[in-house]
Amino acid sequence: MPLQLFKCDEVIPERKKHCYIKMPGEDISDYLPSSNVETIPGTLSERGCSYCGAKLVIGGVLKDTIQMIHGPVGCAYDTWHTKRYTSDNDNFQLKYVWSSDLKEGHIVFGGEKQLKKSIVEAFAEMPHIKRMYIYTTCGTALIGDDPKAVARDVEKELGDVDIFVVECPGFAGVSQSKGHHVLNIAWMNEKVGTVEPEITSDYTINFIGDYNIQGDTFVLEKYFKRLGIQIVGHFTGNATYDQCRSMHRAKLSVVNCSRSAGYIANELKKKYGIPRLDIDTWGFDYTMAGLRKVGIFFGIEDKVEELVAEEMAKYKPKIEWYKERLQGKKMAIWTGGPRLWHWTKAVEDDLGMEVVAMSSKFGHQEDFEKVISRGREGTIYIDDGNELEFFEVLDMVKPDVIFTGPRVGELVKKLHIPYINGHAYHNGPYMGFEGFANMARDMYNATNSPLMKLAANDIRVG
């Protein structure tokens, strides 16, 4: 079916290029929604800004790094604490938030002195921390502050600190995707190759594009440790700043989220000849295939089979129990981009569910190629969905459960449709064998809880 214009979009007909319903016999060379382009004025977009893509998604995950936001305090506060990426060092990265706290006076007279003061103060308050990210924001980029010069100045003065500057203000791109891109490429150009790691295994990997949401990384680390595989750089779940500087020494890049971190995997391939294997870490069948692939690469298939057999024995009965009860349930996925294509076949194959509508906030056409290829016929695929489109889609497909962020989640809760946090999870981790059982449990709870039905009852009318 050609691209679709929803009724609610009749006044913004440009939205037609962004909405698609897959019909039998069609493939991605017939229709591919427009994506990673400017949001159309007048549409109620759910996108985040480019700075947020750099800070909230990737940089802010590092467990030993001060995150100095050069801008007004709101830019720091609003990208703090909303994603539950934990660490094994008492969650340093979740406990604190740092800002140069710019006011109008700094915008008029320049904010560099204030930035320097804030950097020095932060290092003095936390003398055990020697690493820092600095982010520019819209205001400080517009007035032309030079945070790199300030950072070099401080590095020289303090002598034992290392600072990385992300120059990606909120307006730099059309969505948070630009922030991923800028951070990846700058990190590659400026920091990778500047630390030599201690190599303790013949089997070394970078794990790229996992951010330890509610402990995902711990699940993956457990598998790789058991297989005798050393993770040289985990980009960036539970990682340190210096681990990510040593990514050039791995033999293989294993990639989960290729949208937020495919760039660094590609650059590592180009510059250091490190090949890239893309895997899906959500889903039973996918996890098994991913581990097997890495096992074949290193010639340790037997170890992988042992691990798979043990994990299957532990978690397969749980999955079967949930499958019986979730079979045929209709699900919508309205998240960032990659989770659409990671999840659609996983829940269909492993749990018998049907994904009936998907919307991506910052996916590129590459992501739509993947999701339309994997997704069902009759399913709705939307780029940069707006609130009114969501209402219309709900009427069309009537999902039993929706995976989305808290912002859209509040909207669907008011309609008494169960929602699960598709970004930061309800009760994760969701990755790996045990994670997928958690995800199934959350869906079972969401679809069977009487709460939504009760909430819809107006007790005044009996």
């Binding site: 591919l32 033999k251 495919g262 590609n266 490190i274 895997i279 692939k293 074949i296 590459e366 994997r374």
Partner: protein, 113 residues
């Protein structure tokens, strides 16, 4: 044979991420590097694997493809090497056509990542 090619093509499209890497040259390299090893693996042999990390990665992907296809489409076991080769070549042609030649993805030929 056309039915078998269509079946395999659909499965490959749904399953494998290597055909959707960011740029046309990555896709081309992956599709050829992986699929060229398949007929030998399907027929129980050991394909040539160069002593490079890149070729080892292609081999790992190819082995997984062979494992999954054999499990789902047992008729591949009844094919001889030349039938396997022509079937895989036809699948390859279709994948290249859809993911590279006719792709509507505007980023495929951007010079930088």
């Amino acid at each position: 044979m056309a039915d078998k090619v269509a079946e395999l093509y659909k499965f490959f499209q749904q399953r494998y991420l290597w055909q959707f890497y960011s740029r046309a040259w990555d896709r081309d390299e992956n599709i050829n590097g992986i699929l060229d090893k398949l007929p030998v693996i399907f027929s129980g042999g050991q394909p040539e694997v160069a002593d490079t990390l890149k070729d080892r990665a292609f081999y790992a992907e190819a082995r997984i493809v062979a494992m999954e296809v054999t499990e789902r489409y047992p008729w591949v076991k009844d094919m001889d090497v030349s039938q396997l080769k022509s079937t895989i070549d036809a699948v390859k042609e279709k994948i290249i056509d859809v993911t590279i030649t006719k792709s509507q993805n505007g980023e495929l030929n951007i010079q930088n990542y």
